[in-house]
Assembly symmetry: C2
Homo-oligomer: 308 residues x 2
Amino acid sequence: MASHKEGTGYTTAVAVIGLGSMGFGMAKSMKRAGLEVVGYDITQSAVERFLAEGGRVAATLTDAVEGADIVVSVVVNAQQTEAVLFGPDGIARAMKPGSVFISSATMDPAIARSLAERFEALGLHYLDAPISGGAARAAKGELTIMASGSPEAFAAARPALDVMAARVYELGDAAGIGAAFKMINQLLAGVHIAAACEAISFAAKQGLDLQKVYEVITASAGNSWMFENRVPHVLAGDYTPLSAIEIFVKDLGIVQDMARAERYPVPLVAAALQMYLAASGAGMGRDDDSSLARLYAQLSGAKLPSKG
Amino acid sequence: MASHKEGTGYTTAVAVIGLGSMGFGMAKSMKRAGLEVVGYDITQSAVERFLAEGGRVAATLTDAVEGADIVVSVVVNAQQTEAVLFGPDGIARAMKPGSVFISSATMDPAIARSLAERFEALGLHYLDAPISGGAARAAKGELTIMASGSPEAFAAARPALDVMAARVYELGDAAGIGAAFKMINQLLAGVHIAAACEAISFAAKQGLDLQKVYEVITASAGNSWMFENRVPHVLAGDYTPLSAIEIFVKDLGIVQDMARAERYPVPLVAAALQMYLAASGAGMGRDDDSSLARLYAQLSGAKLPSKG
């Protein structure tokens, strides 16, 4: 692998596992910043998109991580993360000594802890580093990363973190803490989207001027980041998935499972999750999460704007 | 009543019905701005507080509104508003022709419409004008007012609106629309407080650094106006009521009743309302609405900060 860096003659080598909308953007950011990037994905179309950007790809997982200083995993969940690390073609035994695995999937903190323990026992570093910010910010290298791990893991991951993120929160010295912060964020995000949709379709049911509702609420105590961000999709009648219903079926499901295990009641999460499940069951699972507004409208006869 | 105003020799005369924390501040703002203000409250301590500020008070409702150009009603709910207007000592038949009644209580829009109709039939003007902003902004004349009513009602109310509010939304030409906007705001506000408390106590249950959670969430997609505003009460362990649990028992109750009548499902409101009811039942009804965090902690053994 090529290797040079100002003053040292060395370029950090990075493997990106998962070239979906987030992983593709993160790989692009790192390539643009001069890191030596190799990508891997099981989906041919994702591979081709990265090749078309001038990216390098590997044919197998173990090929991808050969010689890598940093492996960034941008897969969907804990199961896929475990498969990447410890599955039949798993990378845990192929990574070079002292290298770091950056795990960005949203997962139960207990699973993050357990994966990290197994991985670190091999003499490697694990950074629990869930991401937030969406595909556009991934491509610009402006993600928010909620990270925890050993000082060695942070040090080894630094060249990738610096170019992928506008903001890296260092939340603790062990895996699981980053995951726990991310789940608190997802709890709120998922409930707020559902609340925004419950409210805007209720306003529609009453025949209120929805643009005016948006204007008043975003300037009032009822505002949320999600109301401000998602309600414009409803006003435009555009449910092109920027983030899909299924993401919150997954994430609120994790929160509910964690809470049940800890004997902690989450009535708001439970109510919101039922609405995401209903939207998915009604065929909107792959549509934008603001589709909950359409679900409320279907259930009540409220009239929402259609795509203009 | 005294009467002069630059250029015209006339000072607008205002009666303020209800001198609680909001009404007191609104009366003060109008007095400071040079309006001729008379206050009324059934509670002696509220009367004395206004007298101590140099305010004038009346002994009866009908005395208070005698000669008033504008009556600002700052009572708690629809029942009290109806009693002020049409009760045994009601003001509807004592107000002078062409004067305006500004109703600030949060209520079901259908009730606002019906009160306005009865009142307007007497040749008087009714402005449906729920307020938002809290006692501190009331005292500074910086409320947000969500108003609807006839052009005549707006014109007659203008001198009072201008000095009470930093922002007056003109939402439509009939009573009920202002009320409906306010209920949409309360739906979101009530759910967001409950979500903030569900989240912060869940973070506590997991042993996370709560100051760090506040820092990360307020900079992330999980943020809401209410999370940002209320969680500091929890972090300080200070549940002095700035807004009480009972306010949302009332307001989410109104939303739930409206929604039931319109055959509109509100699962998030329903879940949140149960938590406010539980907090009230557990003895926290008059405490700050962030007391929901204490309820979650009691139910789960989570440890929250205590007052330092």
